[in-house]
């Protein structure tokens, strides 16, 4: 049996008789489960993979676990004097260090694997839909990422243990080096320069785990972890060897050891720099939630846009967004190929390395950190500061591939409406920017003067009017609607500045909501997950929107009255607690194609705050998609946003009670059971002895 294997087995054997490991394991399970439950709730409805959420819930706790498992690996041997017996045996120090490392690593991975099984079994029992579409291999990349990271953490823990005689000191040093220092630095960077988040993206350690869990495998990251683990092991073996370096005669050897370790770090730094510079990324061929899926709207756009588009990622390769952007663009290219539409060519231009290409882009007026979409002589670019999501990129493709067409969305003003130009939490600048990305122009509409609703108006938005519309204004709106106008009304009260009266004439009667048994997150909001089969709402099935104290709607007397072109049809869009909280009416829909009558369409949503900046930033849900679908439907665009399948979105469907049950099982009951079993095992062993 090789010395490495012997030491590995001994390390595992020692671990079984330590109470500290019972505390560490139970603490890890409790912490990881709590973090997992928190992440599940905060990312509910978001376009994020369950595997990635699970991985980033476990990743921050692994350094602590490895530190606690590894703290005794050498400290205990040194304290007890057994290190002399080990070092007088015919074994190389590196074999001993490697054996110890493998023992600590094995325990760390075992703990992660057990937590994986328990958390997913609990989740499968309480939220079967979340796992129903998951591929059996979906969690593999995330687990590989955790294995890579925990290898490094374990090696550093063994190294620290060899340096310190006291286990607690070794654990503190490891946690400080692996967890407190990088996270503290990260927080300091953000506190010092909040724009750091834009430059660096997420916390690098978490971001690397997240990327890999999402199926983006970066050769630079993998090589970096392997190199750092090797260097930490080298340093650990030198630290073990230095135990014998006492006395004056060893001074030279001590110095040469220090130089060797320092040089190894320098060499590792250079190797990592080279690996990151030559970074190659590939998608893990796992299918299922590991890959990106695109909405029907994006697929439509890619299918209708023919020819060839060049997409250039104009950003530094060191940028944290480089990897996810590359992953996303490659997925976009594959999707375009699969629908047989436009061909997407990808290019990467690093502003600091590809100077010629960078100069060309800058001359064209393109800023750094952007994506450039080019087709022939047409070009458009989007700044990564504004995001690079599916909808934004699809819109960019639309702009360069389709004939230019700009529609205007008019927002009424003067009645206390929310402004599309306001950037605060109560403003709507975010959703307005989304509309601009989709090719709309946002214009303020003041109906008090002589102005009618302009002829280029795609739709009018009344976003939470508080004061009365004058008769003149109401008349102008009515006139616009009678000519086939489109109106989107977001209500913050039943009366809503007199708009209610006008809506009643068009088939919609706002009423105080009497909701029963609704699901809620804060007590005042309402989670809406029941969507009708209407074109606006059907694609959102399986996702949810959150409304704050919504107004409900009933069909008024005008609804379903009239014949032919004058018939007004009322359709509920979304219901919660038995009440319709969003509705649409259409006049002239069944008039016949040959009459060429533009139907009047009105959508009413029982809340105005659901697309305010603060609400959109706070939670990941389908609010944005719902609003954009309303706009698309009203403006006559056929391609609406699809919220995606369950595999695309994180929809647990768990209510508060189930969440509490999940937390109780995974974060309290299971860790307590593990703690009890491990303590009994250790006590049993000691009693037998």
């Amino acid at each position: 049996m090789s010395p490495v294997r012997v030491t590995w087995r001994r390390t595992l054997g020692m671990a079984r008789s330590l109470y500290s490991n019972a505390i560490a394991t139970a603490g890890f399970f409790a912490g990881a489960a709590a973090l997992f439950a928190f992440n599940l709730e905060s990312l509910e409805g978001g376009r994020v993979h369950l595997a990635a959420v699970w991985t980033v819930s476990v990743a921050p706790l692994l350094p602590v676990l490895a530190a606690l498992y590894g703290m005794d690996s050498w400290s205990d041997e040194r304290r007890s004097g057994r290190v002399d017996m080990l070092l007088s045996a015919p074994v190389r120090e590196r074999d001993l260090a490697l054996g110890k490392f493998l023992g600590v690593w094995t325990m760390t991975l075992l703990a992660a694997a057990v937590f994986h099984i328990v958390s997913l079994v609990s989740l499968a029992a309480l939220s079967p839909r979340l796992l129903s579409d998951a591929s059996p291999f979906a969690f593999l990349p995330g687990f590989v990422a955790l294995a890579l990271q925990s290898a490094l953490w374990s090696a550093v823990a063994v190294w620290a243990s060899a340096l310190f005689r006291h286990a607690a000191a070794a654990a503190c040093a490891t946690i400080a080096l692996l967890s407190a220092l990088p996270r503290g630095l990260w927080l300091a960077i953000l506190a010092w320069a909040p724009q750091g988040r834009i430059s660096f993206g997420e916390m690098p350690l978490d971001a690397q785990a997240f990327d890999m869990a999402s199926g983006v495998v970066s050769s630079g990251t993998v090589i970096s972890y392997l190199i750092l683990t090797g260097v930490a092991l080298f340093a650990a073996s030198k630290a073990v060897a230095s135990v014998r370096l006492v006395g004056r005669g060893a001074r030279g050897m001590r110095f040469s050891t220090l130089v060797a370790v320092a040089l190894s770090f320098v060499l590792a730094g250079l190797s990592i720099a080279l690996a990151v510079r030559l970074d190659a990324k590939f998608d893990a061929p796992l299918g299922g939630p590991g890959g990106l899926r695109f909405s029907a709207r994006t697929r439509n756009i890619l299918e209708e846009a023919h020819g060839e588009i060049t997409v250039t990622a104009f950003l530094s390769r060191k940028d944290a967004r480089f990897r996810p952007v590359g992953h996303f663009l490659r997925a976009l290219g594959r999707e375009a190929e699969s629908v047989g539409g436009v061909r997407v060519n990808l290019r990467y231009v690093d502003p600091k390395w590809d100077l010629g290409a960078a100069e060309r882009l800058i001359r064209m007026g393109v800023e750094e950190d952007s994506l450039v979409f080019e087709r022939g002589r047409r070009m458009t670019w989007i700044s990564l500061r504004d995001g690079y999501g599916e909808r934004i990129c699809a819109s960019a493709v639309l702009r360069v591939a389709m004939p230019p067409q700009r529609r205007s969305v008019y927002w009424t003003t003067g009645h206390g409406e929310c402004s599309f130009e306001a950037y605060g939490n109560w403003g709507m600048s975010d959703i307005a920017r989304d509309l601009m990305s989709d090719g709309y122009r946002n214009v303020a509409l003041d109906l008090t003067g002589d102005a009618q609703v302009p002829s280029d108006c795609a739709l009018v938005v009344v976003a939470g009017a508080k004061s009365e519309f004058s008769r003149v204004e109401t008349g102008r709106l009515e006139n616009y609607l009678r000519q086939g106008g489109r109106l989107l009304v977001l209500l913050n009260s039943v009366d809503a500045g007199g708009v209610a009266t006008m809506l009643a004439g068009w088939g919609i009667r706002p009423t105080a909501a009497a909701l029963s048994g609704v699901r809620t997150l804060s007590g005042t909001d309402v989670i809406v997950s029941e969507f009708s089969g209407h074109a606006i709402a059907a694609p959102l099935r399986g996702s949810q929107i959150v409304l704050e104290r919504p107004v409900a709607f009933l069909p008024s007397a005008a609804a379903d009255a009239g014949v032919g072109a004058d018939r007004i049809e009322f359709s509920p869009l979304a219901t919660a607690g038995g009440a319709c909280v969003a509705a649409v009416t259409e006049r002239g829909a069944g008039a016949g194609d040959d009459l060429e009558i533009r139907p009047t369409r009105i959508v009413a949503v029982g809340d105005v705050g659901f697309v305010m900046n603060g609400q959109l930033a706070a939670r990941a849900n389908a609010n944005r998609d719902f609003f954009l679908n309303c706009v698309a439907y009203l403006s006559g665009t056929d391609a609406v946003t699809e919220a995606g399948t369950e595999a695309d979105r994180l929809v647990s469907g768990m209510d508060r009670q189930r969440r509490v049950r999940f937390i109780l099982v995974t974060s309290v009951a299971f860790p307590a059971a593990v703690f009890l079993v491990m303590v009994l095992m250790v006590a049993g062993r000691r009693r037998r002895e």
């Binding site: 030491t7 006395g247 004056r248």
Partner: protein, 236 residues
């Protein structure tokens, strides 16, 4: 042939060993004696490659111990003053673990462990956890570990310390049987016991080999008296 030449060791600017040289022939049992702080344990730690000397050489059949440490340690058995064992293991488990660690082939381990246990009289303790053993029995287990692979050089630090008269006598018998295949270097203060089976005494004083006393053929009491005299300063 085991040869120590011009060995010197300084710890925190205090010279512990100065120009120590001696040779140990196969089958010889050399007792290194001296007052507390004379450098006995340090000498043994250097011979076990657990400390690096300032200068000087340690050679086994001409092969330098610090240039080829793994090959040297394969021929070495070392027992420290206070045995540090894995308390959670049984005696058999510990000895098998040590044999594995020392690279003994799997097929020979059971036999080696059995022989060492028999030799050190711990065969009937094999299933007992080490935690439950007395200090004297733990020393025997440590000795079994040291002789496990029949080393050519056995280093025993303060071998008889803390043992009662019965155990000291039994340990002496064990040592005599070990000497059949090993050169033994042992340190200690129990001169009457050591005199029974030592072939030579090396007296360390202030870090140097003050004198060498041959034990063969000498009267035990006279030998002890002479060694004691050498330890305490010779002329005094």
């Amino acid at each position: 042939m085991f040869e120590v030449k011009n060995l010197a060791f300084t710890y925190r600017s205090r010279p512990v060993l100065r120009d120590v040289s001696f040779v140990v022939s196969p089958g010889e049992t050399v007792c290194v004696v001296g007052a507390n702080g004379a450098g006995k344990t340090t000498l043994l730690r250097i011979l076990a490659t657990l400390a690096v000397p300032d200068y000087g050489s340690v050679r086994m059949d001409g092969q330098d111990a610090f240039a080829h440490p793994i090959a040297y340690r394969r021929q070495l058995g070392y027992m420290q003053e206070t045995p540090a064992l894995y308390e959670d293991m049984t005696v058999r488990g510990y000895l098998e673990y040590r044999a594995n660690l020392k690279g003994e082939p799997e097929r020979r381990i059971r036999r080696r462990v059995g022989e060492a246990a028999e030799m050190c009289q711990v065969a009937d303790l094999m299933k007992k956890p080490i935690r439950t053993l007395s200090a004297g029995l733990k020393k025997r287990v440590a000795l079994a570990d040291a002789v496990l692979l029949r080393p050519r050089l056995l280093l025993l630090d303060d071998f008889l310390a803390g043992l009662d008269a019965g155990l000291r006598s039994a340990s002496g018998a064990i040592l005599s049987s070990v000497a059949a295949f090993s050169s033994v270097i042992v340190t200690g203060h129990e001169l009457p016991d050591l005199a029974k089976w030592a072939t030579r005494f090396l007296v360390l004083r202030d870090g140097v080999v003050a004198s060498t006393v041959q034990a063969a053929g000498a009267d035990a009491a006279a030998l002890v008296a002479r060694v004691e005299k050498e330890i305490s300063g010779g002329a005094k």
